[in-house]
Structure formats: C-alpha cells, structure tokens
Amino acid sequence: MKGAASTMRAELIGLAGVVERNVYLTKRYFLWDVAFFLWTVANTLTIVFIAKGFEATGATLDVDRATTSLLIGAVIWAYLGIIFEFLTETVAWERWEGTIEYTFMAPLSRAMHLAGQGVFAIIYGLARAALLFAVVAFFFDLSLPNANFLAALLVVAVASISFIGIGMMTSVMPLISPEKGMQLGFIAQGVLLVVSGVYYPVEVLPQWMQWIATISPATYALEGARAAIMEGAGVTSMWEHVWPLIIIGVVSVPLGLWVFSRGERYAKHHGKLKRSG
C-alpha cells in the first residue's frame, strides 16, 4: 500500500518534471515562439478576410458572423497544430538533442511522460489560442456581446484529451523512423480538420466524410466553440458536445498509449533509440 502511494508520488513528480522541462525550453526559445505566433496571426488573418472578400464581391452574408465562424476554425486549426507539434516533439526533439536515451531509461512510466507533455501542450496551446483569438477579433473589431468564452474553453479542453490520444499515435513515427516522422502530425491535423467542418458546416461534406466527422473530436470542439461564442450557449448546454468527446477520449488515449508502447518496443528491438556512440 505504502509502495503504491510512493510510486504514484514519484510518477506525479515525473509528470511535473516534463512540464518543468518544457517551461525551461519555452523560456529559452521565447523569441522563436513569438515569431511563430506572428506567423500564425498572419495566417489566421488571410483566412478570416475571406468573409470580407465575399462581401466585396457582392455576396450577401452576415459578415461579422461569417468572420467569427472562420476565426474559430482558424484558431482551432492553430491549436491542434501546437498539440500535435508538442506530442511529436516528445521524441523528435529529444532525439535531436541526444537526451532520448536518458529519458527512456528513467523509471518514469511512458503514460506519465506523455501525459506531462500533453498537459504542457494544453496549457500552452490554450493560452496561445486565446491570445490569437483576441488579437484577430480586435483587428476585425468583432463585438461578441453574447459570447460565453468559459463554455468554449471547456469544450476545447475536453476535446484536447482526445487530441492528446491521437497525438500519441502520431508521435510514434519519429521513434521508429529517426530521420523523418514529423509529417504524420501534419497529416493527422489536416485530415482531422478537413472532415470536422473547420471553415464550413459538416453538412456540406460528402456522406463518407460526414461519417468520419462523427468520430473526430475536432467536430465537437468546433460545434461547441461556435455555439458558445456565436450563440452564447452556456456551460451546461455544452453537454451535448462533451459526452461524445468523453467517449472518444476514453478510446483514443489508451489506444494512443498502446500504439506508442508498440513503437517503443520496436525501437528497442531494432536499436532505433540510439543516436550515436
């Protein structure tokens, strides 16, 4: 009993250690993060201007509504990018620095190691997404009197658990293929968003894509965030978006861990963890 408690304590300290390390890295690479953020702002603007562009060509639409809807899509796109990037870096960055063997020979369990990476990704990603939203909303002078940001944050946070599960699966690539492997994260991000109604309602998609949409956590994150920010839906009415996310999370996290542990086994069998020496 005492043994289990001290193991749990050690595991939580280890999880905090992963977060701690990412805080150090973020501090050291702060200017890069700022530069990358500016790039994201520019990218987001190009998408959000599409609504204004349509209006200018004579189309009739509620520009503020369309702008907000596109903005939510773009922010979630950027957020998902950050989550997958952090998860993929669990392996890729450490391989590059040469610390990977030291991390993988530590007694910290892989579940807690990846969870630590996920926790930091969510905290960093949500803060960045909020800032991105604020900057672009300010730029377009969007007034969102009804918006319920707390509810939007809640639904995105719950969806993030599933995103982490999927991220674990994509982060396995750099483990088994040392040279390349970052690409799988981009593919997952793209596929997930294309079917999830990132800049359009899911209903406009072909039927088979709509089926995939129902198992994509991004679908519920986008629907929930739009309902909260555009219609002012409250925390309690988020349930309809949250329950499917819980189910997807309960499946994807253990699946992600399983895939990762298979990858780790493969790497340890074939000597893929080493960098040199």
């Binding site: 890295l25 050291r28 074939h270 963890l273 080493k274 040199s276």
Partner: protein, 285 residues
C-alpha cells in the same frame, strides 16, 4: 539512498555473504544491417550479432572494465543493461531484477554516462539536472540543495551554473553528465567511455571522481573504455569483448600472466589476436 525511492529489494546470493549486482547469462543481440545489392536493386538484409552469447556476473561494489575495439559490442551491452535495448536471447538481472520483466525496478537502480554528454543544449546545467531528477521521483525540495552540491563535487565552476550547456567545454559537460548520473544515487553505474575525448587534466579529474564514487557510494561500476591505463587503475577485473564475445574476464595481472605479457596493452592484443596495424580497420560505427 533517496527517501522517495521505492522499496526495491537487493537480494543476497545464498551461501556466501556477497551480493550479486549484475548477472548476465548467454546474452545475445543482433542488428539488421542493410546493404545495397550488387545488382543495384533493393537492399540485402543481413543479421549481424553485436553480442554473441555473453555470460558474466558482477559482485556488489565491484568495478569491472570492458575493453574492446570499435564495434565489439560495448555500448550494446550497456544499452541492454539500461533497458534501452531488448535482447534476442539470454537474460540480464540487476540485483535480482529481470531487466525485461521488472524494468521499472531496474531503471530505479541504474544510471549511465555515455561518451556524448547529451543535454538540452540551450538549458543550463542546473535545469538539465532538475528535470532529469524529477523523472526519478525527486521533488524540488530534494534537488534544490543537492544539485549545486553535486555539481560542486564534480568540480563544476560555480559561476557557470546559469550558462547554457552549449557554452561549456566538453570536459565540463562530461562532469555534468557524471553529476546527472550520481544525482539519482544509482547502485549500478554504467560508464560508456566517460573520458574519451577529454584533455589529460579533465580525464584525471573524471577518473579521480569515479574512484571517489566507488568508495563513498558503494556503487557497482561497469566501465567501458579504450584507455587501458584507466581500466587497469580503476577496475578490479577486466573483460575483453571481441566481435560480440567476452573472450577474457580476469584481474589485469592475471590477464598479463595468462598471455605472458608485460603490459595490459600487449595482453589485449594477444587476446584479440590483432596487432597494432590491424587495429582501426574494423570501424562499424
């Protein structure tokens, strides 16, 4: 020992009083090597044995040096002992714990220094050590004083505590690597060419420190090295690995007597059947 360390049993060997630290039985590891086919189509896959049935034991508190040419399997052995590789046969037990089935217990007991320092280069020594210690369950309250203390003991300059690793010399980086390994109070320390590439002074400092650890920590040390003098002065027994086989394992004096040579170097060449001229041709890295 750390107070957060979980209860990990260290089993005594029945019969005599000494404790077996490492027990390796018929350990095998193969790697697949791909070669371009002569025809130019596709690649040929060839399995190469990096370790070809190694058996030995180490007693608690012992220092064992492993000598061997490039590609003889030293690092592969170290990786198998530190759970970074899965074997293709045989077994590894560290203080009675199977390296495969009880990897968590084994990881708690082992730490390692490799030829490359391996740190997050933009982070400082203190930062690198802090997060690494967390992975071993050490809370900030335990590392706050201990990290500067241990860095001081390895001779790390106090005024460089905040510098990023990339600005430190290789010798200094290697001292930080030693500090990182010691921080978790390992009972088995795996040193894979810890002094390769260091200047003579740094080398001596690191060697002196290894001696100190052995005495003060009662640690068991496996030292892979190309430095024969280092092996002779630090280790009680010397093992010679040759193409994945452990062809000799005995105290230096016994090795010299066995091969009828004056120096360990001559004994090494006699054992591996190679002269100085052959050396270096077989570089597989």
């Amino acid at each position: 020992m750390l107070d957060t360390a979980e209860e990990i049993t260290i089993a005594p060997v029945p019969g005599n009083g000494s404790v077996t630290a490492v027990e390796v039985v018929d350990l095998r590891k193969e790697f697949v090597r791909r070669k371009k086919r002569k025809t130019g189509f596709g690649r040929e896959r060839k399995r190469v044995a990096a370790l070809d049935g190694i058996t030995f034991t180490m007693r608690k508190g012992e220092t064992l040096a492993i000598l061997g040419q490039n590609g003889s399997g030293k690092s592969t052995l170290v990786r198998l002992l530190s759970t970074l590789l899965l074997s293709d046969g045989g077994s590894v037990r560290i203080f009675g714990h199977d390296a495969y089935r009880e990897h968590r217990a084994v990881r708690r007991l082992v730490n390692r220094v490799s030829v490359e320092a391996s740190f997050f280069k933009k982070m400082s020594a203190t930062e690198n050590l802090s997060y690494a210690a967390r992975f071993y369950g050490m809370a900030p309250s335990q590392t706050r004083d201990r990290i500067p203390e241990i860095l001081e003991r390895v001779g790390f300059p106090r005024d460089r505590l905040g510098d990023s690793m990339e600005n430190l010399s290789r010798g200094t980086q290697q001292k930080v690597a030693l500090a990182r390994a010691l921080l978790t109070s390992p009972v088995l320390l795996l040193l894979d060419e810890p002094t390769t590439g260091l200047d003579p002074r740094s080398k001596l400092e690191v060697q002196q420190f290894i001696r100190e650890i052995r005495e003060s920590h009662d640690a068991t040390v496996l030292l892979c090295t190309h430095d024969l003098a280092e092996a002779e002065t630090l280790a009680e027994r010397i093992g010679i690995l040759d193409a994945g086989r452990l062809i000799a394992l005995a105290p230096a004096d016994e090795l010299k007597a066995r091969y009828g040579t004056e120096t360990l170097e001559e004994a090494f060449f006699a054992a591996t059947g190679k002269t100085l001229e052959d050396e270096g041709e077989e570089d597989d890295e």
